[in-house]
């Protein structure tokens, strides 16, 4: 091949590379504009696990409807406390998932444990909880009005500064209130890792009310 052919081939490759570069850059810019217009990608996986009845007599039965309602409350809590803040929204209405008596425990230093307010805004969020196993307290009359449920939630969120990860683990106590189940107590720990979380999320250790 004459030198001119080699040069031509090399030049063609270079032009192609530059075109690719330009196309990619254009496509990236367009992608950002679309991302702003499109709802960001959120994947939330929370499913029910096994149910155990701790009985003070003949054991009662936790219905599937109750089980699903309990898991639904946990899902709503995760959405309000974690997903919404990571989407740049305010923390959702916790009074919908916490019992009135427990609402006092959602404020102050506990808020930094319960919620992810102040975390950087994310464009893609994946939240996965281990299946929610439920321990239901059955009283001597076989009624069930209180359950305990471990929570082990891993959240991965992509922000402008990079990947942010949240791991919230512990246990919740939920009570039946009318036709719904609400959180009335908790023991939770949260760890957050990633770029740009240092100035926004305080490190706290809290215990209030009865432990």
């Amino acid at each position: 091949m004459p030198p001119t052919s080699a040069l031509r081939r090399a030049s063609t490759a270079l032009i192609a590379a530059v075109l690719c570069l330009g196309a990619a850059a254009c496509s990236g810019g367009g992608g950002s504009a679309k991302a702003a217009a499109k709802p960001p990608g959120v994947t939330l996986s929370i499913s029910p696990g096994p149910v155990t009845v701790a009985a003070a007599g003949a054991p009662g039965v936790l219905s599937n409807a109750d089980r699903d309602a309990i898991v639904g409350t946990v899902r709503t809590y995760v959405t309000d406390a974690t997903i919404d803040p990571l989407l740049g929204k305010r923390v959702g209405n916790l009074s919908a998932v916490f019992a009135p008596a427990a609402l006092a425990g959602t404020t102050g230093v506990n808020a930094a444990v319960l919620t992810d307010a102040g975390m950087p805004k994310a464009s893609k969020i994946t939240a996965t909880a281990q299946p929610i196993s439920i321990t239901a307290l059955s009283d001597p009359a076989r009624a069930i009005g209180l359950v305990g449920a471990p929570l082990n939630l891993q959240v991965s969120a992509r922000t402008k500064k990079g990947l942010v990860q949240v791991h919230r683990v512990g246990e919740l106590a939920l009570v039946r209130e009318g036709g719904s189940w609400r959180i009335m107590g908790f023991r939770l720990a949260v760890s957050r890792a990633g770029a740009d979380i240092g100035t926004t999320v305080p490190s706290t250790s809290a215990s209030g009310g009865a432990r």
Binding site: M1, P3, A6, L7, A17, V18, C20, L21, A24, A25, S27, G28, A54, A55, A56, G57, A101, G105, V113, T135, L137, S138, D139, P140, G145, L146, V147, G148, A149, R158, K161, G162, Q165, G170, E171, L172, A173, V175, M184, G185, F186, R187, L188, V190, S191, R192, A193, G194, A195, I197, V201, S203, T204, S205, A206, S207, G208, G209, A210, R211
Partner: protein, 308 residues
């Protein structure tokens, strides 16, 4: 075909290097725009910042709570039982302190509707509720909650807990209760815990020391449970165990969860165990001494003994 390149290696190199660099740069940029992140931006260890926080919360009452714990002498088939082991616990949720008043069973008190009699008779006259009313009137507090168990319930409760570890203070060898314990750390199963808590013949001030030992046993159980550090799920399991062997009056298991979490939050070192001051009265009855009025007032105001 390759002769040209061989003839112009400098030209070939001069062209190839920028091409390769441009392609590499384009690839990296495309990957970046496609979502991939280089290590310095993807939370790699050297830029990773981790924050850890924890919280433990259960709503607590905003004022002192008083609970009566009764061990009655009921055996299978009994229809009338005396409340012999009597302990009034006051908990101050704000101060995270508590006091347990141990009440000897032979203490004379005014039983509403029945006159003065030994306090254990109130259980015969009107069950745990009347016994609570009798004691509440005497001490000067409202007692909304009562936990009442019998011999078998106590034995089964302790066994379901896996036993209780105590430190036996002095030798105990009592044929009546069956208590035979050497001093020192001892693991009590249900039956031996019952023997330990019934022994009064090994002590000069028999009924008083027995009452104090019962209080000590309750505190040892609390210490043991607290050391297990149960969370909400563990507390629910404990409540189920309690509910199988104890009759609750004035409170359901669900509501007892709040008090249970409160109890587990209190350092046993912040719980005083005090036998109420009594002296020998008429017959086998014990009489509350005048000094008791100050103790009761100190206890009643906030469930904490500040001056006793």
């Amino acid at each position: 075909m390759t002769g040209g390149i061989r003839r112009h290696p400098i030209i070939a190199t001069a062209v190839a290097v920028p091409v390769v660099c441009a392609l590499a740069l384009a690839g990296l940029l495309a990957a970046w725009l496609g979502g991939a992140r280089l290590p310095f931006a993807s939370g790699a260890e050297w830029f990773k910042l981790t924050k850890v926080a924890s919280a433990d919360y259960t709503p607590a009452p905003d004022k002192p709570v008083f609970i009566l714990i009764i061990g009655n002498d009921g055996r299978p088939g009994d229809t009338s039982t005396r409340g012999d082991a009597i302990h009034l616990i006051g908990v101050n949720p704000l101060l995270h302190k508590a006091t347990m008043l141990d009440i000897p069973r032979d203490t004379g008190m005014d039983i509403p509707g029945h006159g003065v009699d030994k306090v254990n008779a109130a259980h015969v006259d009107g069950g745990p509720r009347l016994q609570a009313q009798t004691i509440g009137n005497t001490v000067g507090v409202q007692i909304p909650y009562v936990l009442d168990t019998n011999f078998q319930g106590f034995v089964d409760l302790v066994n379901d807990m896996g036993g209780i570890n105590v430190n036996v203070p002095t030798p105990m060898n009592d044929a009546f209760s069956g208590a035979h314990f050497a001093p020192g750390p001892t693991h009590l199963d249900g039956n031996s815990a019952l023997e330990f808590s019934r022994d009064r013949h090994d002590f000069p001030d028999g009924d008083l020391m027995r009452s104090q030992n019962q209080g000590y046993l309750i505190l040892s159980a609390l210490t043991q449970l607290r050391n297990q550090n149960p969370g909400p799920v563990g507390t629910i399991q404990l409540l189920a165990t309690l509910g199988r062997h104890v009759t609750l009056d004035g409170i359901g298991l669900d509501d007892l969860y709040v008090l249970g979490r409160l109890g587990l939050s209190i350092d046993p070192n912040n719980v005083r165990n005090v036998v109420i001051p009594v002296e020998q009265g008429s017959g086998t009855r014990l009489t509350i001494t005048p000094a008791a009025s100050g103790l009761f007032a100190d206890f009643a105001d906030d469930a904490v003994l500040e001056s006793h």
